[in-house]
Symmetry: C2
DNA sequence: CCGGATCCGTTTCGATACTG
DNA sequence: CAGTATCGAAACGGATCCGG
């Protein structure tokens, strides 16, 4: 039992700190779903994506909350946390998410219609502004409709 | 030995795919060091940061390589891979990294001089263009000098 | 039913020793 | 110097259970 903890040094670059919060498989995915797909409840997160386990989801939500990226709203009648929203700090991640989305669309298998991406890339600032606006208005309709549904992305899943 | 793979469904959003590559504690950090700090050798990565273990570093470098984000250059005289560089796909992550850097500087403990960040935020496009330019010229001097050294970031680390 | 918490087997991580 | 090998520790993921 080598109890050497080795006193983790941390570099001064802010990215490292960010990655201590966001550097895992699920956190950014949860934030994306909040921001882009308009998810708000535990169940929505659980059922979507690639099937995050409930314990992991619970843990990630709590971690994001303690880091001030989301807030959980508890109803008075019920002790459970019913819905989640991004804080301003959280919505400020919109540029990161968007750039990642753009990068993914350009370099990974382009499951999402490139046309949409090209447009989004051109209108980056506009999309970010829209995200921020909706956050202020507590409007949680999906920011990018094609990503709203589950097997999503493949062209016109029109309704 | 329950061979149930459960046929992981993946959502159509490109972000998920990106996060399968980048969604861990170290990958983006390695990319940042490649891009912003100008690291190129195994040893530089190993000694910097918050002390990544050599086996993890080795694994991440390999994964980034197989995903086409970096390339390893092997010298003919030696079987070892001597230096690493970003591919074009890798350099295209500059916007993501930069936005993450900006976000971190704004919301996390501001270890980096805010002035630098404000400037970088204003000149986002310029910094990205510079990164791309250097990549083309194989110029690996640090893109952001304050982040070049280890305990870095704290204002005027006089030189 | 919904939002979790708990239990438990499996996978990944991380520190260090070791090798070409 | 650039990695592997090893092994204990931590995180993950699935199933199940529980309180509101």
């Amino acid at each position: 039992m080598r109890g050497k903890v080795k006193s983790r040094r941390r570099s001064g670059c802010p990215v490292s700190l960010s990655l201590e919060i966001l550097g895992d498989r699920w956190s950014l995915l949860v934030i994306r779903d909040l921001m882009v797909r308009g998810f708000r409840t535990f169940k929505e997160f659980e059922e979507s994506d690639e099937g995050i386990a409930t314990n992991i989801l619970s843990d990630r939500l709590r971690r994001l909350e303690t880091n001030g990226i989301i807030i959980a709203e508890t109803e008075k009648t019920d002790r459970r946390r019913g819905s989640y929203r991004l804080t301003e700090k959280g919505i400020d991640l919109a540029p990161v998410l968007l750039d990642l989305l753009i990068w993914g669309a350009r370099h990974e298998e382009s499951l999402a219609p490139p046309a949409l991406m090209v447009q989004m890339e051109k209108n980056r600032e506009g999309v970010i502004a829209e995200a921020r606006k909706r956050w202020r208005e507590r409007d949680s309709t999906p920011l990018i409709p094609s990503f709203a549904d589950d097997g999503a992305g493949r062209s016109s899943k029109r309704r």
